[in-house]
Symmetry: C2
Subunit: 224 residues, 2 copies
Amino acid sequence: MGPGMVSTAHRLRDEIEGLIVTGVLAPGEKLDEVQLANRFAVSRTPIREALQQLAAAGFVEIRLRRGATVVRIGPERLVEMFEVMAELEAMCARLAARRLSDADRAALLEAHASCRAAAEREDPDAYYYENERFHYALYRAARNGVLEEEARRMHARLKPYRRLQLRVRNRVGASWREHDGIVQAILDGDPAQAADRARAHVTVQGERFADLMASLAQYNLAAE
Amino acid sequence: MGPGMVSTAHRLRDEIEGLIVTGVLAPGEKLDEVQLANRFAVSRTPIREALQQLAAAGFVEIRLRRGATVVRIGPERLVEMFEVMAELEAMCARLAARRLSDADRAALLEAHASCRAAAEREDPDAYYYENERFHYALYRAARNGVLEEEARRMHARLKPYRRLQLRVRNRVGASWREHDGIVQAILDGDPAQAADRARAHVTVQGERFADLMASLAQYNLAAE
DNA sequence: TTGTCATTTTGTGTATACACGAGACTTGAC
DNA sequence: GTCAAGTCTCGTGTATACACAAAATGACAA
């Protein structure tokens, strides 16, 4: 076995998280341990470990003797999550503007260029992927490992909702221009402006939720 | 069984976390599952679940087929944690200044008064406890459940180190005066000042680490 | 003595078995 | 037809058993 070896539980964690993020497992859905064990051809033990980890990461909720369900995030909580995410990104941008290393600058600019290419092709799926790389590069550039972990955690929790956002008309182009503003501020070494622009970039998404909420609310109701 | 019932695994999680926070289980220490199972007179199963949760919370590290160890936090990482904590507290204070409800104000002031009493008695242990209540009240007052959870998580991770801090000469009195500044800014409805003061309050602790690091470094070396 | 390799031992990772509470269902009264 | 009490079923929570990788041990050679 190679060095990249992971336990069954860890693999399951990633797989189930993927199912949740892509909506295959819908919010509110019950996650039966035996069912999942059969589905993945393993015993309940690693399934339970995976569910524990997903609960810690905020993807599922486990109630005593009632099993795990995919978390259903209401409008208020979603706003709260974006509010925190905005601040985390602002902090990353602020620190990045102060501390940018050559390697981090190169990574950031490369991801930024890839985003541009995807935006010009008007390819939302590609942009979704490259956008993630850009944000990860930003978190890394802050040169604070704890902050990077927290930012990635929160980013992951918002994944199911971010994906929907990019379908909105012209959102991809607007997103890239916002990225560009952040990058410029970081390259200029202007922490305050970098922070403000990063915060605004995330906040904008949160504010597009009047319409998203409508569809989401009925989606959540339907799932019950 | 009453409504406050918790599983064995959950109880173990709290107990082991307590042992880590109080230093009974030292940083770097190996956590043998069978040993812990015997110690608590349970099987390995709930022990493993507790360790999983502690790993997710950042108290232990689990490596594949090498078991769990209490995380050893180096100076750099500790600085990073305080940097993030400072920003989370600043955000809480800023939002609290904007959104303070009557109930939250009452809770904050009560905790603040309890801190004062403990500080005047020059009782570091009491102050440690009341200080925690104060900070929890602050997190709550921000009226953002996600932020509250994140702040409490990070606060918990820093517990082992905060406790040492308060032993420092005159630190308790200085801490209370800093609290007072934060409270006044919040009551005045001044978000920027509340944020700045909360950030400074946490940052001060982080900066007291020239001396703490010295003792900590030798502590960590001895534990190996 | 020191280093290397085979062997054993130990502890984790997963599977299976058992215990017990929550919720579904049945039954019966009104 | 509705609702309440009792029973049963099913799924989770915990215990135990088994598989296998990694560390520890020891034998042997340099």
